[in-house]
């Protein structure tokens, strides 16, 4: 039966076409295996990163407002993609920009996105409890010390800077929340 099928195909397509088809199928199977082994958001969580609860409660709302607009990091093509109520919505859900509040899935995606922007340096920040936070791209791009298409976002020690640094420095939740709330207020 299998031989008949192969012979019929060979007769219909010719040997070269059949060989090309074989190469194509092999390539597609290889591509499938390759894609399945890509590191996704789940795998990325293996890297160290400061407190997720503080991030989702305080830091993500600030980043959503300041960085996650549709013309900046609220774009699918941009590094450090940020989802949120007023920006880009998660593709696995059916919300629209400006609609429902930021979802848990979006908060988790934002955490993964920020934590894995600079994973080795972020691991170091975790290991030294934030004392090397000023080495992170996240901090230096926001401060305008590294090239950033959106320009300088924060000044050192202003509420936005303290919001991010407080989280990276394992400050208590209330301290981080106060800085982040102060940073959000002028954006509303």
């Amino acid at each position: 039966m299998r031989r008949n099928v192969r012979e019929r195909l060979r007769a219909a397509l010719g040997f070269r076409s059949l060989a090309a088809l074989g190469v194509l199928v092999t390539g597609l199977v290889g591509l499938g295996f390759g894609a399945s082994s890509c590191v996704g958001e789940e795998g990325l969580k293996a890297y160290g990163c400061p407190n997720p609860a503080v991030f989702t409660a305080s830091v993500s709302p600030y980043l959503e407002r300041r960085c996650g607009t549709l013309d900046c990091h609220g774009q699918a093509t941009r590094p450090m993609r940020i989802y949120g109520q007023l920006g880009l919505r998660h593709p696995a859900e059916n919300n629209v920009s400006g609609g429902a509040s930021t979802t848990q899935l979006e908060l988790e995606a934002n955490y993964a996105s920020v934590c894995n922007l600079d994973p080795a340096a972020m691991q170091q920040v975790v290991d030294d409890l934030g004392s090397t936070a000023d080495k992170l791209l996240l901090v230096n791009k926001a401060r305008g010390l590294e090239r950033h298409k959106g320009g300088k976002i924060v000044n050192e020690q202003d509420p936005g800077d303290l919001c991010i640094l407080g989280w990276l420095g394992f400050k208590d939740a209330a301290t981080v929340a106060a800085s982040c709330a102060a940073a959000i207020e002028p954006l509303e």
């Binding site: 407002r65 300041r66 960085c67 607009t69 549709l70 013309d71 900046c72 609220g74 774009q75 699918a76 007023l86 920006g87 880009l88 919505r89 593709p91 919300n95 629209v96 920009s97 400006g98 609609g99 298409k149 959106g150 320009g151 954006l187």
Partner: protein, 185 residues
């Protein structure tokens, strides 16, 4: 001081000009993809043309259409049937991060713009109010309203709101301003 021949200077200058020209002649794939995706022009270009489209794609240094804009967009209202219609005579006020606010008025197509020459030091982020409605978010760095406030499409019905679009800029019917030739709000 090393003497450089006129021939070499001319060659270097030619190369610089050629490289500069390459940079703004369809060779930047991101803005070019937006421009290539725009529908064909209807009629001839004017202040009323292409409502709802991302104006600065063309009215910019890259797009080279004159005049270059600092910020531009289109404002809509919903008519009695619930369909989108142009909202003329609306005051659009833009607050930048550095100086006092400025405003523009929408024309018969709902279009408004401020030319780049007239606001060359525009500083992002911006806040915007159209008529009596203020934007919920800031504008990070995009001068075209239509880049984020996209027109309705098959996957974004009604007012164009979707996963990556806030929907068209909407004001209430009758939300006009005397300073823009409309009645009292």
């Amino acid at each position: 001081m090393v003497a450089v021949s006129y021939g070499r200077r001319f060659a270097a200058l030619s190369l610089a000009v050629a490289l500069g020209a390459l940079g703004c002649n369809g060779n930047d794939p991101i803005p070019q993809e937006v421009i290539d995706g725009l529908p064909a022009e209807v009629g001839s270009p004017s202040a009323l043309h292409r409502p709802g489209q991302p104006c600065l794609s063309c009215h910019s240094t890259y797009g080279a259409a004159a005049p270059a804009f600092a910020i531009a967009g289109t404002v809509y209202k919903e008519n009695a049937m619930g369909a989108l219609a142009a909202a003329p005579n609306v005051k659009v006020e833009i607050f930048d991060s550095a100086g006092p606010s400025r405003f523009a008025c929408t024309n018969a197509a709902g279009n408004f713009y401020i030319e780049k020459d007239k606001w060359s030091d525009l500083t992002f982020p911006l806040k915007v109010r159209a008529g009596q409605r203020s934007m919920n978010s800031i504008i990070g760095r995009e001068g075209s309203c239509g880049a984020c406030h996209k027109l309705p499409s098959d996957d974004r019905p009604d007012n164009g709101a979707g996963r990556d679009s806030a929907g068209v800029v909407l004001v209430d019917d009758g939300d006009t301003d005397p300073i823009c030739g409309g009645g009292a709000p």
